[in-house]
C-alpha cells in the first residue's frame, strides 16, 4: 500500500490524497460500487481496507493558521500551489485535477464521528436538477446550460447530530361540543441524531428542506468516503448550535402535543408547558449534498439535492424576457382567437 501523503516541504503544507496501492493512481469514491476505485488500473477497495492511508489521528493539535482563508497547500501529485477556502477539507488541484485532502482540517478537533456516503451519482443529480426546474423553461437560458450544470458539485457538509431525551408535560384547555375540557399530556420521547448544519457558509433552511437522511445507513467516518468530492469542516461549534436545536425541539414538542389532541376539540389553548429536555450526545458527521449556486440579477439562487435520498429543494431564477414573451404570446393568441370567434361565429351574412 502506497502512502499518498508527503511530509511538509520547505514550510509548505502538503495536500494528501489516497493513491492506489497497485498503480499509484488517484482513488475516487465510486458511488455505484460504494468503494474507492482506481480509474487507471480499475481496482476497487473497500474504504476500511485503506485504514492507514490517511491517519487523521496524527494531527491531534490544530496547526497554527490551518483555518485561515486562502491557506496555501501544495498538490502532492504535481507540486502546484493551491489556495484553499477557509473551511475546505477536500478540494481539487486546479492544475492536474487530483483530489487535495487537507488532513489538518480533519484533526482530532475536526474529526467527524460519522459519514453518510453519496448514493446519488452526478448523472442522477443532473437529471433531478433538470426535472426540478422543468428543463429551465422559465429560468434564464444559461441556467440549464452545460456550463452551469458542470457547477453542480458533490460536497460533504458538516452536521452536528443531537441525541435528545425529552419529557413533555403540557396542560391545556379545550372545548368539546361547547363543554370545557382540561387536557394533560405527559410523554417521554427520545429523538436520535437530529441533524443541524455546522457551517455558516450554507443555507440552513435549504439543508432542512432536503432532510431527512436515512440515518440507519450512517457509517463510521473514514476519509476515503470524501475522496472525489468537496468537503467542508464546521465553523460553528456544537454548543453554538444548541440554540437552534432548542427551537426545533420546541416545535417538536408542540407537534407531539398536537397529534394527541382529538380533532373534535376546539379552541385548544395551552395553559402550562413544563416540558424539559436534555442533550444526551452531540456528535459530528459529514452528510452528502449536491449543490448549485447561481447568481442572477444580483441575487444568489441555491439548489440542493440530498446525496443519499435524492430529495430536492431550492429556488431558481425567473427570466424576465421569457415571462414577457409568454405574456405577450398568450395575450396575442387569446385576443386573436376572441376576435376570430366574434367574426366567424357571431357575424352576419358573410
Amino acid at each position: 500500500m502506497q502512502m499518498g501523503r508527503k511530509k511538509e516541504a520547505r514550510g509548505r503544507k502538503m495536500a494528501d490524497s489516497i493513491k492506489c496501492p497497485n498503480c499509484s493512481g488517484n482513488l475516487i469514491f465510486d458511488i455505484g460500487r460504494q468503494k474507492l476505485f482506481c480509474e487507471y488500473c480499475l481496482s476497487a477497495f473497500v474504504t476500511e481496507e485503506l485504514e492507514d492511508t490517511i491517519s487523521i489521528k496524527e494531527a491531534d493539535e490544530e496547526p497554527e493558521g490551518i483555518l485561515e482563508e486562502g491557506l496555501k497547500i501544495t498538490c502532492n501529485a504535481c507540486g502546484a500551489q493551491l489556495v484553499t477556502e477557509k473551511n475546505s477539507v477536500v478540494t481539487y488541484c486546479s492544475f492536474c485535477g487530483s483530489p487535495a485532502f487537507i488532513k489538518e482540517r480533519l484533526s482530532e478537533k475536526f474529526a467527524p464521528h460519522y459519514v453518510i456516503p453519496f448514493q446519488i451519482d452526478r448523472d442522477e443529480a443532473v437529471k433531478k436538477f433538470l426535472r426540478w426546474c422543468n428543463g429551465g423553461r422559465w429560468a434564464p437560458c444559461e441556467y440549464t446550460s452545460e456550463k452551469t450544470i458542470s457547477k453542480i458539485s458533490g460536497i460533504y457538509l458538516p452536521f452536528w447530530l443531537f441525541d435528545i431525551d425529552c419529557r413533555i408535560d403540557i396542560s391545556a384547555a379545550a372545548l368539546k361540543n361547547g363543554r370545557p375540557l382540561d387536557l394533560v399530556r405527559k410523554i417521554e420521547t427520545k429523538w436520535r441524531k437530529l441533524p443541524f448544519l455546522g457551517s455558516k457558509s450554507f443555507n440552513e433552511d435549504l439543508m432542512k428542506a432536503i432532510e431527512p437522511y436515512k440515518l440507519e445507513s450512517i457509517s463510521v467516518f473514514h476519509p476515503g468516503y470524501l475522496h472525489g468530492f468537496m468537503a467542508e469542516c464546521y465553523d460553528t461549534e456544537g454548543e453554538a448550535v444548541k440554540e437552534r436545536a432548542a427551537a426545533r425541539v420546541k416545535e417538536y414538542i408542540d407537534e407531539e402535543f398536537r397529534v394527541t389532541v382529538s380533532t373534535s376539540y376546539t379552541d385548544v389553548k395551552k395553559t402550562a408547558d413544563r416540558s424539559e429536555w436534555k442533550y444526551e450526545k452531540v456528535r459530528y458527521a459529514m452528510f452528502p449534498v449536491w449543490l448549485l449556486r447561481y447568481e442572477y440579477g444580483g441575487k444568489v439562487y441555491e439548489f440542493a439535492i440530498n446525496g443519499q435520498t435524492g430529495a430536492v429543494s431550492g429556488s431558481y431564477p425567473i427570466s424576465l424576457p421569457k415571462v414577457i414573451l409568454l405574456f405577450v404570446t398568450v395575450f396575442t393568441a387569446c385576443a386573436a382567437l376572441a376576435r376570430l370567434i366574434l367574426a366567424l361565429f357571431l357575424g352576419g351574412l358573410f
Binding site: L181, D182, R185, K186, T189, P212, L325, F350
Partner: protein, 245 residues
C-alpha cells in the same frame, strides 16, 4: 414513474429549446415575428375602412331630379351609422329569396369589399321596380359596433320612402331588414363588451398563465418529529370535562 417514462421525460426536457442558447434565440425570434404579424393583422382588421355609398339604377327607375336626394339620404345614413350603403334597382320579381341574397351579396361585394375579415357592416337595398318590391339585406361581420341595429329601421324606411314615396306598391323595406337581422342571429356586442372579450379577458388570462408558470416552489419546512423519534411513552394522557354551573 417507471424508468422508461422517466427517460422519455428526460429526453423531452433536454430537447427543450430553452436549453440551448442558439435554439432559444431562434425560437424567440420566431415567436416575436409571429406576435408582430398577429398584431399587425389584428390592427388591419380593426381599422374601420372608408365607407362606400353607391346608388345604382340600371333599371332607370329614379328620376334625374330625385337621384341627388336619394344619394344624399344614403350618404347621411352611411355617415350617421358608419356603414356602407348600396341602393340598386334590379329586374325581375324578387320573389326568390336565394336569388335575392346572391344578388345582394354580389352587389355588396362588388362595391363594398374592404378585405378579408375587415368590418363590412352595411345595408344593401334591392329595388325591384317592375313589381314594386324592396328587399333590404344587412351585412355585418361581428364588428358592427352598434351601427347595424334595430334603430336602423326608421332610417331605412326614411330612405325607402324618399326613393319611392309616390308609389304605394312598395312594401316596407325595414320589415325585411329586421327579418334578416333576426334570421341571421346578428349579435350586437357593443364596444364595451368587445373590449372586454378581445382585450381584458385575454389580458387577465395571460396574467394568470404567467403567474402559474413562474410560481416558485416552496422550500419545505423541517421534517416531522417522528422521523427522528426512537421511543415515545405516554405517562399521562387525560381529558377531563370541567363542571360548569
Amino acid at each position: 414513474m417507471d424508468e422508461r417514462k422517466e427517460s422519455i421525460l428526460q429526453l423531452i426536457l433536454q430537447k427543450l429549446p430553452w436549453n440551448d442558447g442558439k435554439r432559444a434565440f431562434r425560437l424567440s425570434v420566431i415567436v416575436l415575428v409571429a406576435i408582430v404579424l398577429i398584431w399587425t393583422f389584428l390592427l388591419y382588421v380593426s381599422l374601420p375602412p372608408r365607407r362606400t355609398v353607391v346608388v345604382k339604377d340600371p333599371q332607370f327607375s329614379f328620376s334625374p331630379e330625385s337621384l341627388p336626394d336619394i344619394e344624399s339620404a344614403a350618404q347621411r345614413l352611411s355617415d350617421e351609422h358608419d356603414i356602407h350603403v348600396v341602393v340598386i334597382t334590379l329586374p325581375g320579381t324578387g320573389l326568390d329569396e336565394s336569388e335575392n341574397k346572391s344578388a345582394a351579396l354580389k352587389a355588396y361585394k362588388e362595391y363594398c369589399n374592404p378585405g378579408f375579415l375587415r368590418d363590412r357592416s352595411g345595408i344593401c337595398l334591392l329595388l325591384f321596380p317592375h313589381v314594386g318590391y324592396v328587399e333590404a339585406a344587412v351585412f355585418t361581420y361581428g364588428m358592427a359596433r352598434g351601427s347595424v341595429n334595430f334603430d336602423l329601421e326608421k332610417e331605412v324606411d326614411h330612405l325607402f320612402y324618399q326613393v319611392h314615396a309616390p308609389s304605394p306598391k312598395f312594401d316596407k323595406a325595414s320589415s325585411s331588414s329586421l327579418d334578416l337581422i333576426n334570421e341571421k342571429g346578428h349579435f350586437h356586442i357593443g364596444v364595451l363588451r368587445l373590449m372586454i372579450v378581445c382585450l381584458l379577458l385575454p389580458l387577465l388570462l395571460a396574467a394568470y398563465v404567467c403567474m402559474r408558470a413562474i410560481r416558485r416552489k416552496k422550500i419545505k419546512p423541517s421534517p416531522e418529529s417522528y422521523k427522528y423519534r426512537v421511543t415515545r411513552n405516554y405517562i399521562s394522557r387525560t381529558d377531563t370535562f370541567l363542571h360548569t354551573d
